[in-house]
């Protein structure tokens, strides 16, 4: 039996390990791009300058698409997922493509499908007369309807008339609508990438709510003037006082501006064209095209050299538009080869960044963390040292990947790891995992691994959320432009945050295990219960189950969210979440068994199917281990949060002459220091014991969340970056959850003892002697967990 179990665990380890390694390898080695297709990846590696930073086109495309749609890829008309670069190329060539179309069929001044959308509301005889639509009974018309009625000349006259009439009159509004439509029709594409999730905004644009909530530019186009008018109004309102509708209008307006900027090649701060010769500058596409020599001078070799980049880029766009794959690929390769000679460092960085984007290491880490968590759970139930060892090895692999990813970011950005809220989340996750791994090295019981995988996973989810607002490798504000202080203060203080969180997560595990312990002890004894005894038992059973289910549902939905809400996974996630919720039935089952025991129809002991719970009970050993883990981590946290906070003060003193300004963020860091000191002193003074420490670490969690995200939401102080409605929600529910756990932990605990997972018959043997310590004198015999 034992041999079978060991064999089985080896099979499990080798099969799942092979799958993990293979999938990582496959992702790391991208498929080669054949000669018959566009070399989109090679194009994506080309450098551009945006927001003052040299980055690959791939990043530009992904970040732009992320801002517009919330995803880094898009679904084409056939339902196929396509890379962001593909979309960006379609947008950048829209002007050429639409221009060609217009030349081919001049009777359609707007070649795209938007010309046939019935978006123009014309009511009343007088208005209809102006548009020569007297006979029509309809009130909604498309651009083509109007064009057919008025003709090219009529349209021109109308536009001229528009300059002299009141823009708020019905006719003025219509002319405005026509103008915007015509003007923006050059940028028309049909990719559904604009995510609009506010019904009022959807109605403003005359759209219908649909699944996925994504719309194409062609759909927004006919009524884009309405959006502009609303945005003009909203612009005058203080951003903090806008209601949700106004915020959304502003967002969509910004998205349209970004899109049009990309289509024109001159989005704010975007410089597409690399320097052509040493001493040349980065240029926007329109600038570069304007500088091109006129016809006849093109053969001039000197002119060719001076405008090499512009000509190459133009060549790529033109060939892409014509579908000339080989010519496109050759232009890309030539451009890259020339730049590699001129700016090798930037090319290296851009190439690495594009590869980094492709590999998506943080997403892979997220998956691996969940897998490690599952393996850790399996290791407790299976009680196989092989699997515990395997979980450790997997975690080590994940940490390596996480470390590599952090290192790559540092290399690309030329900065220490933490530069903004996003990177703080990634770094805090990394540090929590590393701290836990060090603890695991000592105890090898997969407890620290479980905690590490949870903290690693949840911080990466937070990071994923924070990345939605744009480039996460943005340039630093002037005052932060110092690698020395970023490396010392910021890194130290975030390690302090991480350690406090690790201690707090151990606290959560400890408290949950106490609930399980109480339940199991009660079942083992099987004695009659008082009214309050029943209440406590029931609460423990329900709370322990709900906790596990929330965890499972949270992990599943987090994974789904982290994968970019992939539609194909939705059903799976829902199904598995539903299954997890079925686990809630376990609580009534235990309660029912307990009632049977109390009425004498069942013997004392665990009901069938509940034995696995014993792995999660607090024995004297696990209790001591967990408490030491909390204690040691808090010591570590105290050191780092104190040093980090004081270093921050010294930085402030050094750069603007005020050591301590009582700024909200500074106060937050100070709170963490005091909180950790409080836990240590309360323990040294004997005011709290195991459970007390666990409860206090949860308060530490709350304080850290306040310091990390909460203080930013007050809108005050030097560190007031990252206002965010979702962060407000997250803070709130995190605090509520911690308070709920603290409430559970403070239940009356008269019966809570260390669990002895031995059969009842053997329990009469004398308990094993407590481990002898060479320093502590006196007997520490009591295994009762004292409520303090």
């Amino acid at each position: 039996m034992k041999q079978t179990s060991r064999n089985l665990s080896w099979v499990f380890v080798s099969v799942s390990g092979l799958i993990v390694l293979l999938s990582l390898l496959l992702a790391a080695v991208p498929a080669a791009e054949g000669p018959k297709e566009f070399h989109l990846r090679a194009f994506g590696e080309l450098p551009v300058t945006d927001h003052g930073r040299v980055k690959p086109i791939d990043t530009l495309a992904r970040v732009s698409l992320l801002i517009l749609s919330g995803k880094q890829e898009y679904t084409d008309a056939d339902g196929q997922a396509q890379p962001a670069v593909h979309w960006l190329l379609d947008v950048m060539t829209a002007v050429v493509k639409n221009g060609d179309e217009r030349r081919r069929s001049p009777e359609r001044p707007i070649p795209g499908p938007s010309a046939d959308v019935k978006a123009y509301r014309i009511e009343g005889e007088e208005l209809k007369k102006r548009f020569q639509l007297e006979g029509s009974t309809a009130s909604l018309f498309s651009f083509n309807d109007l064009y057919r009625a008025l003709g090219a000349e009529g349209m021109k006259e109308l536009a001229e008339e528009g300059a002299n009439i009141d823009p708020t009159s019905p006719l003025g509004v219509l002319i405005d609508q026509l103008n915007w439509h015509t003007q923006y029709s050059a940028f028309e594409t049909t990719h559904k990438v604009f995510r609009i999730d506010h019904d009022q905004v959807i109605a403003l644009l005359g759209l219908e709510r649909r699944k996925g909530l994504t719309y194409g530019f062609d759909e927004l186009l006919p009524r884009v003037s309405h959006l502009h008018r609303e945005a003009e109004r909203v612009d005058k309102i203080n951003p903090k006082q806008r209601d949700p509708y106004e915020k959304k209008v502003w967002d969509v307006h910004q998205h349209v501006t970004l899109y049009v900027g990309l289509a024109r090649g001159n989005a704010k701060t975007l410089h597409l064209i690399a320097p052509s010769f040493p001493g040349d500058k980065w240029k926007t596409l329109p600038e570069a095209l304007r500088d091109l020599p006129g016809r006849g001078e093109e053969d001039d070799a000197a002119a060719l050299r001076v405008h090499a980049s512009t000509l190459s880029f133009q060549g790529m766009l033109v060939n892409y538009n014509r579908g000339e794959r080989e010519a496109f690929n050759k232009e890309v390769a030539d451009y890259a080869a020339r730049l590699r000679k001129e700016m090798p460092a930037d090319m290296d960085r851009a190439g690495s960044e594009s590869g980094f984007n492709d590999f998506a290491p943080f997403y892979r880490c997220m998956l691996l963390y969940v897998f490690v968590f599952l393996v850790a759970c399996v290791s407790w139930m299976w009680r196989s040292p092989v699997i515990t060892w395997y979980a450790f090895a997997l975690m080590a692999l994940t940490v390596l990947l996480h470390t590599w990813a952090l290192g790559m970011r540092m290399y690309i950005q030329k900065r220490p790891p933490v530069t903004n809220l996003y990177s703080s989340a990634v770094f805090i996750g990394w540090a929590t995992v590393l701290i836990s791994l060090a603890i695991e090295l000592k105890y090898r019981n997969a407890l620290a691994l479980a905690v590490a995988s949870l903290t690693g996973f949840s911080t990466l989810i937070i990071a994923h959320y924070l990345s939605g607002s744009g480039d996460t490798l943005e340039m630093m504000q002037a005052v932060l432009d110092t690698n020395f202080w970023l490396a010392t203060h910021v890194t130290t203080v975030t390690i302090g945050y991480s350690a406090t969180f690790v201690a707090g997560f151990f606290g959560i595990v400890f408290l949950w295990m106490m609930l399980v312990t109480h339940m199991l002890s009660s079942l083992r004894e099987g004695r009659a219960l008082s009214f309050w005894g029943w209440v406590v038992f029931g609460t423990c059973a329900v709370a322990a189950c709900v906790f596990v289910i929330l965890l499972a549902v949270g992990l599943l939905n987090g994974l789904w969210y982290g994968s970019g809400h992939r539609g194909s996974l939705r059903m799976l996630v829902r199904g598995l979440s539903g299954l997890a919720i079925l686990g809630l039935l376990f609580a009534p089952y235990l309660l029912w068994h307990r009632i049977k025991q109390a009425t004498g129809s069942a013997p004392p002991g665990l009901p069938p199917g509940a034995r696995f719970l014993e792995s999660f009970a607090l024995t004297e050993h696990t209790r001591r281990v967990l408490v030491w883990m909390m204690y040691g981590t808090i010591c570590f946290a105290t050191l780092f949060s104190f040093v980090g906070t004081v270093l921050g003060g010294i930085w402030a003193d050094y750069s603007w002459g005020r050591f301590w300004g009582w700024d909200p963020k500074e106060n937050g860091a100070l709170l963490i220091v005091i909180m950790n000191a409080l836990i240590l002193h309360a323990r040294w003074g004997g005011m709290v014991r195991d459970r007390g420490v666990a409860v206090l670490t949860l308060v530490g969690n709350m304080v850290t969340m306040w310091s990390w995200f909460g203080t930013n939401q007050l809108g005050r102080g030097l560190h007031a970056y990252g206002f965010n409605d979702a962060l407000v929600q997250m803070c709130r529910w995190f605090w509520v959850s911690q308070l709920a756990l603290i409430g559970l932990a403070l239940l009356p605990l008269r019966n809570w003892r260390d669990y002895k997972p031995t059969p009842l018959a053997e329990a009469t043997l004398p308990p094993p002697a407590p481990p002898v310590t060479h320093r502590a004198k006196g007997k520490r015999g009591s295994t009762r967990i004292q409520p303090r």
Partner: protein
């Protein structure tokens, strides 16, 4: 050592790592009858008091953070951290709810009332007493406790440093337009009413009489021999806003004044801003004041003065004509301005640079190239930029802000005699913690190895 901790510690199932901690040290030899003074000292030294004070400190810092939503950083620091008792308004909790639970707390909700709470001086002082008493009671020179002593010494220095800073630090600013030479700083925390007349003996210099801020914040009449006339304060606004003459506001500007450029600007009373606001703006106080002939009720002039009108203001947008009071053929210029301190040296701004990241409007660096002219005429050029201040004559000059249109620079000038204490403290505490936690860890690992 406190009695309570002696009793509690051995029975606590504490991990043995705490063996090195104060509470686990063997109890002091029993004494026949501890004196009252000794008992009092023991009570002061108790760890329970420490933890209690920590709880209060956490609450105080939390309240002091929330208070910044509504009031300025300076008044918060003064009320919560640099005083003995603070009255915490219940409205703070409502504000917290409004930020984090919008659905449950309407924006208009107002709650009256407040409760007293020990403020910074009290808690800091008690923590200091508690710490000193603890060491007095439990002092024992052993290597095992060297770390604890070092780190607590560091903490004492930190607390004292904050005390010294609170009492003695002066933050001022020096506003210099391009090409200007300036030999004074503006202490922005305090304002003064300055009354200037040209010095008949030295052309180009003024005779100045100033009235300090504490006399200006309450309405009332100020009489003094040095003042050429009596000053009657009508209203003091902690902060004000200068309104541009936009078309919609034409004809409806409150308290209009015509600037030197011919346009009318208005002035309104404004909520106090926080000193380190997101927009990093300074408070711009204003003062409604009447000037009366000494001892009579004859009004010589009545003015609404404001720091906005002060020609050297850090936020000057346009220049205004001087506000004057005429008395017996003499003309006095009156202005409300930050408290002014004259320096031995003067500073000339040669160049101000505001670098942007290429193609963006995101600042990369601000720098001021200045020339410092010593009292004895020595000149030298210095470049001050972000994270690179200048130390001069016990003061530090930092790049702080700039005038609109990059027309000049604003330097922050700080004098803080206790500046080195945080540095010392940080070093000591770090060392102490490393030693203390390090020995704890080593003992723990040894114990594991033995067992």
């Amino acid at each position: 050592m406190s009695d309570t901790s002696v009793k509690a510690a051995p029975s606590a199932p504490a991990p043995p790592v705490t063996a090195a901690a104060p509470a686990e040290a063997p109890p002091a030899a029993p004494r026949a009858r501890p004196s009252f003074a000794h008992q009092a000292l023991r009570a002061l030294a108790s760890l329970r008091l420490t933890v209690f004070l920590f709880v209060l400190s956490i609450l105080l810092v939390f309240f002091g953070t929330l208070a910044q939503i509504d009031s300025g950083i300076w008044s918060t620091v003064k009320d919560y951290f640099r005083s003995f008792v603070v009255w915490v308004p219940f409205q703070l909790f409502v504000r917290f709810g409004q930020v984090f639970w919008e659905e449950a707390f309407s924006k208009e909700l107002q709650v009256g009332g407040s409760f007293p709470f020990p403020a910074g001086w009290t808690l800091g002082g008690l923590l200091l007493v508690n710490l000193l008493a603890a060491h007095a009671v439990r002092f024992k020179l052993t290597w095992a406790r060297a770390g604890v002593y070092t780190l607590h010494a560091g903490l004492i220095i930190l607390l004292l440093g904050e005390l010294i800073t609170g009492l003695t630090q002066v933050e001022a600013s020096m506003t210099i337009a391009k090409g200007e030479t300036v030999n004074f700083t503006d202490v922005r925390q305090y304002n003064e009413l300055a009354i200037l007349t040209p010095n008949p003996d030295k052309p180009g210099e003024d005779l100045v009489v100033t009235v300090p801020q504490r006399l200006l914040t309450r309405p009332g009449r100020i009489t003094d021999d040095q003042l050429p006339f009596d000053v009657e304060v009508k209203e003091y606004w902690k902060n004000s806003t200068l309104l541009d003459p936009t078309p919609e506001r034409r004809g409806r500007l409150p308290n209009p004044r015509t600037a030197l450029n011919g346009a009318d600007y208005g002035l309104t009373n404004e909520r106090e801003g926080s000193g380190v606001d997101t927009e990093a703006r300074e408070d711009m106080p204003a003062l409604k004041v009447a000037f009366l002939r000494k001892g009579t009720e004859e009004v010589l002039a009545e003015h609404l003065l404001s720091v906005w009108y002060y020609p050297n203001s850090v936020r000057r947008i346009v220049e205004f004509p001087a506000q004057t009071v005429g008395l017996d053929g003499k003309t006095y210029t009156v202005e409300l301005r930050p408290k002014r301190e004259y320096k031995a040296q003067s500073v000339r701004l040669l160049e101000f640079n505001h670098d942007l990241y290429p193609g963006t409007d995101k600042p990369k660096n601000f720098s001021s190239l200045i020339e410092v002219i010593d009292g004895d005429g020595q000149r030298r050029e210095v470049k001050i930029h972000m994270n690179n201040p200048m130390w001069y004559g016990g003061e530090t000059y930092y790049q702080h802000a700039y005038l609109d249109g990059n027309e000049g620079t604003i330097l922050q000038v700080v004098r803080n005699p206790g500046w080195f204490m945080p540095y010392l403290s940080c070093a000591l505490v770090t060392l102490g913690m490393l030693v203390h936690f390090g020995t704890t860890l080593v003992h723990f690992l040894q114990r594991r190895a033995v067992s």
